[in-house]
Symmetry: C2
Subunit: 193 residues, 2 copies
Amino acid sequence: MSDLLFQKIREYVKLEDEDILLLEKYFQFKMLDKGDFLFKDGDAVNHATFVNSGLFRTYIIDEHGTEHILQFALPGWWTGDLGSFISGATTKFYVEALENSEVLTITKKSWDELLDKAPFYLDYHRKLLERGLVSTQNRLLETFSTDASHKYRQLMETFPDILQRVPLYMIASYLGMSRETLSRVRNQMVNKK
Amino acid sequence: MSDLLFQKIREYVKLEDEDILLLEKYFQFKMLDKGDFLFKDGDAVNHATFVNSGLFRTYIIDEHGTEHILQFALPGWWTGDLGSFISGATTKFYVEALENSEVLTITKKSWDELLDKAPFYLDYHRKLLERGLVSTQNRLLETFSTDASHKYRQLMETFPDILQRVPLYMIASYLGMSRETLSRVRNQMVNKK
DNA sequence: TTCATTTTGTGACTTAAGTCAATGGTCAGG
DNA sequence: CCTGACCATTGACTTAAGTCACAAAATGAA
């Protein structure tokens, strides 16, 4: 089991050796090939997933059949569907590996047990949620800037690495614009500056 | 001190009499007139605010001077700026009372103490965060539906009460469209159906 | 009731982005 | 080296929504 999870948890709380042993009991290591799905629309998501290596996208397909990417998940991030995970309802999302990836998964049952018996995990989870909420809010704020080129610039600043690893049509989908529009935006940026 | 807070907490966790006494020690009751601000851009937000009665809006002013409404807060909801509250950084938001309102506020210091000594509050806070994250995500999803009338219909379904209490130009701002567009959308709905 | 302020509605015009369709590039597998 | 799948670009055209300007309601304080 890779150390990335422990390292990330340590960014928030103190971890003793016995805590690590506990974590190792609860998490399962899993490898996925590029193109594999963690889950799809209609599934009940009873796992939480920590990305160890690779890259994931979470997207939804709307009534016109168009994909909208909600989130990319890089190593060290969590992915999944919190709503489905906590409520037990089926999900509307798809989570797909965009590269060969390694993850750690934990079932809802184990998750609840862990929260129950390990105060450090409770604390970690809380801080994770707080930061998650803030960053989802920031994502929402970015959609307010109506201008397409502005949105693209903002993404370049916050997640330059994602641009290198993901086809442009997915970037467009993440930013809420057509791939043609993104193409033109990029073109203008080269010519103008 | 009104009972709404206790009632809301009870939706998530069990509350004993002594818990209530504890809460009463930590929260402060406050009244605001219509037009008053909880805080403004540039302030450090070291309070969390529970809405007891009335109505609030959280908005941001972008580089063109345009307001974008992030959230309305009805009685029983929390408002403020979580990012600023947890990090201590200054906020970019404005929170304004849209009606004469009553709130309960708690300082960051008290908040942390409460989390520390009252497990029920920790639990409540966690569940609140989980639900908050899910609903912010849903708000983000709604911005993906490109069509203006669709967005308006969706708001009518989820928060019909807000429509009654808030001027239309604020609804437009919340939905990310100009007030003229909203006006036309509403008009078409009357004529078509 | 009156008057000022705030809010909403409409028409004319502009503009940013979407759509459609064709083209060209890149890369992996045979 | 060829082929097909996938991805990006570009041009022509369409369309939804924004902007501007003005008028009409609605509201609320005096």
